[in-house]
Amino acid sequence: MPSLKAIRKRIGSVKNTRKITRAMKMVAAAKLRRAQDAIIAARPYAAALSTVVSELAEVAGSDAHPLFEDRKGKRTAIVAFTSDRGLAGAFNANVVKRVEAFVANELPADSEVSLRLIGRKGNQYFARRNGNITSYDPAATGATALAISGDTAHRIVDDFVEKRVDRVFVVYNEFKSAITQAVVIKQILPVVAEATSTGASAGRPDYSYEPGKEELLARLVPLYLQIGLYRAALESIAGEFGARMSAMESATNNAGEMISKMTLDYNRARQASITKELLEIIGGAEALKG
């Protein structure tokens, strides 16, 4: 049985921990709201750009741009989004595990895999295991997500066009709700143009293109990739806060449980010591009487 003082100290420290986890939960909840707003704000842009790119790809022919070309090569790049900080449950572990499972099970055995990592946690993990890391950026925040996704888009476009890689995938946590995130893996290069309904193409007016269709595609496809990565980054940010919120929620609950259990122990120990003292006094008094 630990001493009364030790239990009291321990209760105090768990109470402090609970304060911290509760505060972290509230911070994550507030940030989550902002991240969700950013996802919604990006929707009109993404929808319009995706329509224009698929229309263009259709009128120009899908072999019009090198980024549509499926070379069937074995060099694969993976862009993985993790967070900079932990204490978010299995958020980061899910991403790195998915990447490893994907490389081991779903890619051909002779694939050469290179990684472009966004987020410190993913970098730590793969650096320790000697992963082939081409680039690393700190995790995106609401303010930097657009710049990071733009930079990454240009890098992978250049890698692809210069034939340093043949396929590019992106892995991230998709934000489903505050308590669920699902790890998603998507091919982003070569671009798979979303098929527009063929009926619509007949009635489409003739646009004048400036510069030509192919040049326009060359300008817009990187933007299209950028918005794809931007959305992945935003989903990952929202997912991180969601994961942290639920992790901190259960940490707070666990701390509460621990505190009540320890308070019980404390009271029991105190009662035991009182009883012991009483018995000693009574025993002493009896001895004097006799």
Partner: protein
């Protein structure tokens, strides 16, 4: 019925919608606009034929009751058959809201980085620097 459609297609004002990934920046009726096209600045007036044009970083001017200047980065401008103008750019800032000092610092830094590039082959990172220079310059021009 067809005539009515034609008339509305050639209305006397442009319905301009300026959109970035961060949300809709401006949605307004305008008498005309000037945009930094990939092939040079161009002006757009109501009743333009359907057009899809690539934009490079520069100054976009929307002329309505007042002339409003925006610094925009790369994207595209589309005039649809109904005459609505959709301007999609990666970034857009109102001319009056540009932080000129910050833009100048960014311009200097990016140019210094580019200067250090030397003979290395140009890759995606080089392109990112070029874009950064152009975007900083566009903001300074718009301010």
């Amino acid at each position: 019925m067809a005539d009515v459609k034609l008339l509305s297609g050639h209305s006397t004002s442009l319905d301009v919608n300026l959109v970035t990934p961060r949300g809709v920046v401006a949605h307004q009726a305008a008498d005309g606009l000037a945009a930094p096209g990939e092939l040079g600045m161009f002006e757009l007036l109501p009743g333009h034929i359907p057009l899809l044009a690539a934009l490079k970083p520069g100054v976009l001017t929307i002329a309505g009751k007042a002339r409003v200047r925006y610094a925009v980065s790369s994207g595209y401008l589309r005039v649809d058959p109904a005459g609505a103008v959709e301007v999609l750019v990666e970034q857009a800032v109102l001319g009056g809201e540009v932080d000129v000092d910050k833009a100048k610092i960014e311009l200097r830094e990016a140019e210094a980085e580019l200067g250090k590039w030397g003979d290395r082959p140009t890759d995606g990172d080089w392109k990112n620097l070029v874009n950064r220079v152009a975007w900083a310059q566009a903001r300074i021009d718009a301010a």
